[in-house]
């Protein structure tokens, strides 16, 4: 049985040491500050990015990896004769998935599965890390693909942003545009659904917003053992509070904290906190 190798892109926001530990190949997207180009997570760490975002006079833009870049990452794995599973940002948010599919056509390699995760950031990280660990534990390609489908079905992602401004400007606001234009200072609670950002509800006050995130998770996963992956855009204090609340209310078997990387950060702005949650039993098993 060939070894299964997991490929993803930098919008999973998986820290470098973790990628190394689980043997995950990360294809970087690119961030542009004016003329300057950075490879997401390679030339620019999350910390550096948010600093730059504050000081820069130009607003960053992003772009997907080219098929040729994908090819570069796929080739070595193909040469090992690996079974490749390549998990990517929602095709409705980025052209990355399309690029990967084009690359597959170019390399013409049978055992390469390109997956549209329909999500981005921590929920994608959860999918990727679970898959990589299952691969390490010797699971087959088909078993891992079944697990990914299970996660996609059970998993939910809720997050709060400070402002919808970044999402709107980057054109990634999705259906959450319904929440634009409110005169009161409200915190929009959003969720990922069918590959897009959807509005969930509005909350007033940061405290309440954090409580709502956990409450909603609690309502939907009351009696389940769960994995909870948390993320933040340059707000570690708030993340700590969210983690405490989540661990108090949920039956977590694995909790992980990530930070938004430059590409996702460009589109949501600082001040985001959120969580991805998924049922464990019958789904994440390896």
């Amino acid at each position: 049985m060939p070894e299964v190798c997991i490929v993803t892109d930098s919008t999973a926001d998986i820290p470098g040491e973790l990628a190394e530990k689980y043997n995950i190949t990360v294809v970087p997207l690119k961030v542009f500050f004016g003329e300057e180009v950075f490879r997401d997570g390679v030339d620019l760490t999350p910390g550096e990015f948010f600093q730059k975002l504050e000081s820069s006079t130009v607003l960053p833009t992003t772009s997907q990896p080219t098929p040729a870049e994908f090819e570069e990452y796929y080739r070595p794995l193909m040469d090992q004769g690996a079974s490749i599973i390549s998990i990517h940002i929602s095709s409705q948010m980025s052209g990355t998935f399309q690029s990967a599919k084009l690359a597959k056509k170019i390399v013409d390699y049978e055992d390469l599965e390109i997956i549209d995760s329909q999500v981005v950031s921590v929920p994608m990280a959860m999918m990727v890390i679970a898959s990589a660990r299952a691969a390490k534990a010797g699971r087959s390609r088909d078993e891992i693909l079944a697990m990914i489908r299970g996660i996609m079905k059970s998993q939910q992602t809720y997050f709060v942003v400070d402002t919808l401004e970044y999402l709107q400007r980057g054109g990634r606001i999705g259906k959450a545009q319904a929440f634009l234009g409110t005169l009161l200072n409200v915190k929009p609670v959003l969720h990922l659904k069918e590959g897009l950002i959807h509005p969930y509800e509005k909350v007033r006050g940061r405290n309440k917003a954090l409580n709502r995130l956990v409450q909603v998770a609690e309502e939907n996963y009351k009696d389940d053992k769960v994995w909870v992956y948390l993320t933040h855009g340059n707000d570690p204090e708030t993340l700590k509070t969210l983690r405490r609340k989540a661990e108090e209310k949920l039956n977590c078997t694995e909790v992980r904290e990530n930070q938004l990387g430059p590409v996702v950060g460009t589109h949501v702005g600082p001040g985001l906190v959120g969580l991805a949650i998924c049922k464990v039993d019958g789904i994440i098993e390896f």
């Binding site: 319904a178 409110t182 005169l183 009161l184 509005p199 509800e201 509005k202 007033r204 006050g205 405290n207």
Partner: protein, 540 residues
């Protein structure tokens, strides 16, 4: 004088007697308010509701009592304002149902009609409480039933029933502790007794051969909209342009303004105070109307609409329909209007404390929205029933979220998700609107002792979720103290909406003081522009 049966003409005459007496007594009934807050409007609401019924009844030609009663009930149903108005409309509905098809009614018929009226009133209230209009209504029915067994002269029966009803009313403070505390009888009950009293007066006047004219206060009253729009535009439209604006000025002479504007059209309404007056009129010369307003200050929120066009649109039916969701909310104050609209409200009906919109006002707003499903936020305890009545009359699905305050309305709007349907939204909004504590700061309208506080007329008072909680002579400390009582949790968000009576400089000053006093609380300040209430406060 003895009368053995009433016909339709008699009923019209009696209703006119009732509505006239209510017109004269409404201020006294308004004052029968449990708390010293300026929201007493039971008398006004019952008067306007009955007036709508009387106007409809007088349209009926012919003298069958069943038809007249039915028309009166229909008019009341549409004109119902406030909870007492809605209950009154149900009383008339029960009364009319009992007499359906009859040409005239004898003592036993009238007794039966009052019984059905009482039953209908009880059914209208989810949670009937003794010591209210319901008690009075039931006892009136009982009195008529008893008396009808002994007498057949309706004059005698009615006089006796009136006396018994008065006695029942006088006992309401024994049944309802809040009434006793405030030293008042139930306002709705008083309204009903007044209606009975008016009937007796009409009967006496008739005996003295006096014709009674309908005493229509509405057109000259401040806080009343009656018949702002005619039913059939094509047939009845005399004036084409509905003209509305607000005048901001100093010492606006409301009375003179009203007199000056009256010749330009009909449905004239001038409300507000001498620093901000809202003008509404149907006229063929909106320009002249505005010129007239300009003499007294700056104009704002000018709105002129061609009612002929509106009428045609209404007749041709909604353009957009289907499953889309519209939201109607009730509020007073331009700041609040704008905020609500920014949160997804499609139509804001002007109204609130002391100015309750009628079921018909709400129904009209619901029907005019080009959406297939409507959510209504009454934002006032006393508007919920009228909204529910409107929901029943509407020809599309309407969900009323029983919000009792603007902060509750805003809390409900936070969970409004336009991507989802009516039912999901109704469920979410119902479970979220009580997530806030509502605070109100106003002035006491009279001396009072309640909740262990000694309140002097004119003092500032603070209410937390409708309970009188603090009082004092200065606005800032009363506000501070109330917030101390309301915001217990660290990290709470307190939102202040300042009213028309507070300058933005003063509001900013109070905000600064509050931030100093409560460093662990987040504060936000917005202009609400609401009358009477210096601050509306939301604690999230």
């Amino acid at each position: 004088m003895k009368i053995y049966s009433f016909d339709g003409e008699d009923l019209k005459m009696m209703l006119v007697g009732s509505v006239n007496l209510l017109a004269k007594s409404k201020a006294e009934i308004d004052a029968l308010n449990v708390f010293p807050v300026p929201d007493g409007d039971t008398g006004t609401n019952m008067y306007l509701t009955l007036l709508a019924g009387v106007k409809e009844a007088r349209q009926v030609e012919g003298a069958a009592i069943g038809e007249v009663a039915e028309a009166a009930a229909r008019g009341c149903l549409y004109g119902a304002r406030g909870n007492s108005g809605v209950i009154l409309s149900q009383i008339l509905k029960g009364f009319a149902d009992a007499l359906s098809g009859q040409a005239c009614a004898g003592a036993e018929d009238v007794a039966r009609a009052f019984r059905m009226a009482s039953d209908a009133a009880f059914q209208a209230v989810a949670d009937p409480v003794e010591g209210t209009i319901l008690t009075v209504c039931r006892e009136i029915a009982a009195a008529f039933e008893n008396l009808a067994q002994r007498y057949s002269d309706l004059v005698r029966i009615t006089v006796h029933a009136y006396k018994q009803a008065q006695a029942v009313l006088d006992r309401t403070p024994e049944q309802l502790p809040v009434l006793k505390q405030s030293g008042v009888v139930d306002a709705g009950g008083q309204g009903l007794v007044t209606i009975l009293h008016g009937i007796i007066r009409a009967l006496k006047d008739a005996a003295a051969q006096q014709d009674i004219e309908l005493f229509d206060l509405a057109a000259s009253q401040q806080k009343e909209f009656v018949e702002t729009r005619a039913k059939d535009y094509a047939a009845e439209l005399k004036y084409t342009y509905c003209t509305e604006f607000i005048i901001l000025g100093n010492q606006i002479p409301m009375g003179i303004l009203r007199e000056e504007l009256a010749p330009y059209g009909d449905c004239l309404l001038v409300v507000g105070d001498n620093s901000a007056a809202k003008v509404h009129i149907h006229s063929n010369h909106p320009g002249l109307v505005m010129e007239c307003g300009l003499k007294y200050g700056a104009l704002q929120n000018v709105k002129i609409s061609n009612m002929e066009e509106q009428g045609q649109e209404m007749r041709s039916g909604p353009k957009k329909n289907g499953s889309e969701l519209g939201v109607v909310a009730v509020a007073m104050g331009e700041g609040l209007n704008t905020i609500l609209q920014s949160m997804g409200v499609d139509t804001v009906i002007s109204g609130g404390q002391t100015m309750n919109p009628s079921s018909e006002d709400i129904l009209e707003a619901v029907n005019n929205l080009p959406f297939g499903n409507i959510i209504v936020l009454p934002n006032n305890k006393n508007i919920i029933m009228a909204a529910e009545q409107a929901a029943k009359m509407a020809d599309k699905p309407v969900a009323v979220i029983p919000t009792e305050s603007i902060p509750q309305g805003i809390a409900a709007l936070l969970s409004l998700n336009p991507m989802e349907g009516l039912e999901e939204n109704e469920e979410k909004m119902n479970s979220s609107y009580q997530d806030v504590v509502t605070g109100e700061i106003t002035r006491a309208v009279r001396d009072s002792q309640a909740e262990g506080l000694e309140v002097k007329e004119g003092q500032f008072i603070g209410l937390a979720d409708g309970r009188l909680s603090v009082c004092g002579s200065e606005l800032a400390p009363v506000t501070g103290e109330l917030i101390g009582l309301m915001a217990e949790e660290e990290g709470s968000l307190v939102t202040l909406f300042f009213g028309a009576d507070v300058s933005s400089g003063k509001a900013d000053g109070i905000l600064e003081a509050l931030e100093e006093q409560y460093p662990d609380i987040d504060f936000e300040l917005y202009y609400g522009g609401q009358p009477l209430y210096h601050f509306l406060i939301s604690v999230d």
